[in-house]
């Protein structure tokens, strides 16, 4: 009987119950606004041709005005990429990001000079570039990144958002949050003697970050071999080759297709060689041969050219909308923050928030603080949601259009086990909890006062 619920509807009690809960049942009305630009255009012209046919003899001028094609202003036409900088602590991630911003003229000379002075006061001159990204006092005092830093730069072909992840082991949850937005991972490896080995051995963050990057969905991994200008390295080809050969099998075991998805490039994050301008051949004679031959999958001389040459696949503007929500805030209404993963997000669109299944209308969409008429996949957006209270939107929720994604608490999955605590084995009942400093407490009884 349970397997055949229809037979049950014969009973009046069940029918009454069904009717009472019918309102809770979720149904989505037909989407009024078509999903992609072409369909919207076709839709619009079709509507007009229908309305035009009975009134053909009326003034043509007035009819023409709405018939003008709907121009969808999707902000900047250049493609947008999210880059995440990952790697072991002190590999030079923040310094490299700082230098990229400086070389692409986002940060001016005066600011750099100010940071240089500030770094000098702390007797840490080499940290001056990292200060661009590490803005809070704690980060500057210790010279390590804690929060995921965000910065924005652009080239002729593309626009980029940099996410500078913390390298320290205890901040890995912060790094995961950063990396889940990213399209391209830049694994920063220090070439300095001993530092590469420390980052790569068991427990080193180079290892863990590379593995996490793959599962969090980066399409490309650029292995940036940093600190090539170090006295212990001196742009030696042997050192670069040694690092590349050691990394290859490991990255392969993480699931990267080396030939297609992994690129290797030697740079100097502090000096700026090979970031925007190629290293001079007197310092590094072998690099020119290396990239012209296409060794190590790299055919471009500099990091920025390399990033410009990457093509991200799997971005589908025609698929149903999916925006995993990263954060929310309140500013004359509820604003959600996230990255469009698929579909096109437009103001006026009706969306469903999973897993609460509540329906809302989008009021406004911002990309880089500009209000836009549509955000394509890959854009980081701020979304103003009509009618939602702050509590209705939470980190981890997903904004969808029909058909919505699933909300589940049970799943069957394929896992690759990397590391288990205390060499234990995983059995049924193995559970993973929120890391807490203190254990839970239980009230055993109470006493009247």
């Amino acid at each position: 009987m349970l397997n055949d619920p229809d037979s049950l509807t014969k009973h009046p009690e069940v029918e009454a119950l069904l009717e009472a809960t019918a309102a809770d049942d979720y149904t989505m009305e037909q989407e009024e606004i078509p999903n992609d630009a072409d369909a919207a255009l076709a839709f619009e012209t079709q509507k007009i041709s229908v309305s035009e046919s009975p009134v053909q003899d009326m003034e043509q001028d007035e009819e023409d005005e709405p018939a003008a094609p709907v121009v969808v202003k999707t902000g900047d036409p250049r493609e947008h990429l999210n880059l995440v900088f990952i790697g072991h602590i002190d590999a030079g991630k923040s310094t490299l990001t700082g230098n990229i911003l400086y070389l692409t003229d986002i940060v001016d000379k005066r600011t750099i000079e100010r940071y240089e002075k500030e770094a000098k006061e702390r007797n840490r001159e080499s940290w001056s570039l990292a200060f661009i990204m590490d803005t809070n006092e704690e980060e500057r005092a210790k010279g390590k990144t804690v929060e995921v830093g965000k910065a924005y730069f652009e080239t002729m072909d593309k626009r980029y958002t940099i996410l500078d992840a913390p390298g320290h082991g205890i901040y890995v949850p912060n790094m995961i949050q950063g990396a889940c937005q990213a399209d391209v991972g830049l694994l920063v490896i220090s070439a300095r003697k001993g530092e590469f080995e420390a980052g790569f051995e068991r427990g080193g963050q180079s290892r863990e970050h590379a593995m996490l990057a793959k599962t969090l969905g980066v399409s490309f991994l650029v292995v940036v071999v940093n600190k090539m200008d170090e006295p212990t390295v001196q742009w030696k080809k042997e050192r670069f080759d040694e690092i590349v050969t050691k990394l290859r099998p490991f990255l392969k075991s993480c699931g990267f297709v080396i030939k297609r998805e992994v690129k290797f490039i030697p740079i100097s994050g502090f000096g700026g060689a090979n970031i925007k301008e190629e290293v001079s051949s007197s310092v590094c004679p072998w690099w020119k041969d290396c990239y012209t031959n296409g060794d190590n999958n790299t055919t471009t001389p500099t990091l920025i050219e390399l990033l410009d040459s990457l093509e991200i696949k799997g971005r589908d503007p025609k698929a149903p909308l999916r925006v995993p929500i990263l954060d929310r805030c309140s500013d004359r209404g509820t604003i959600a923050m996230g990255k469009v993963e698929s579909g096109i997000l437009r103001p006026g669109q009706k969306v469903i928030i999973m897993p609460t299944k509540k329906k809302y209308k989008i009021d406004e969409v911002w990309v880089n603080e500009d209000s836009v008429d549509g955000a394509r996949p890959g854009e980081n957006v701020l979304i103003k949601i009509n009618g939602a209270r702050l509590e209705d939107i939470r980190k981890g929720y997903v904004m969808c259009t029909d058909p919505p994604c699933r909300a589940v608490d049970k799943l069957i999955c394929q896992i690759a086990i990397a590391d288990l605590p205390d060499n234990a084995v995983m059995t049924a009942g193995f559970s993973m909890h929120v890391p807490r400093a203190h254990g839970g407490a239980r009230v055993h009884g109470h006493q009247d006062l």
Partner: protein, 103 residues
Amino acid sequence: MFHAHTEEQECTVTKIFETTNSKGQTIKGARFASAGMRAIVMLELAQTVPLEIYETMAFLGRFTLRTEGRTVAIGKITKLRPRRKNKLPYRIREVMETIIVVY
């Protein structure tokens, strides 16, 4: 912790279906899995989480398992419970069961 897209949630392994060790030997109905193995398992989460199967939407079907400050495993979702066809909320099914007992 179960980390997928921007979500994190507590989770428990409720069943292990099969394991494959580094040599490629597959054991069906295995009791345990250890480091270096691949496994097909069922996970139960503390709360419902928006997810998809890896094949249909990769970015909602990938996840990481972490505990005690390190990454235990990485994985992809292969199966979810089928969409409810009769659209009856769970509580109604409970009520139905009691009705069946009565009849």
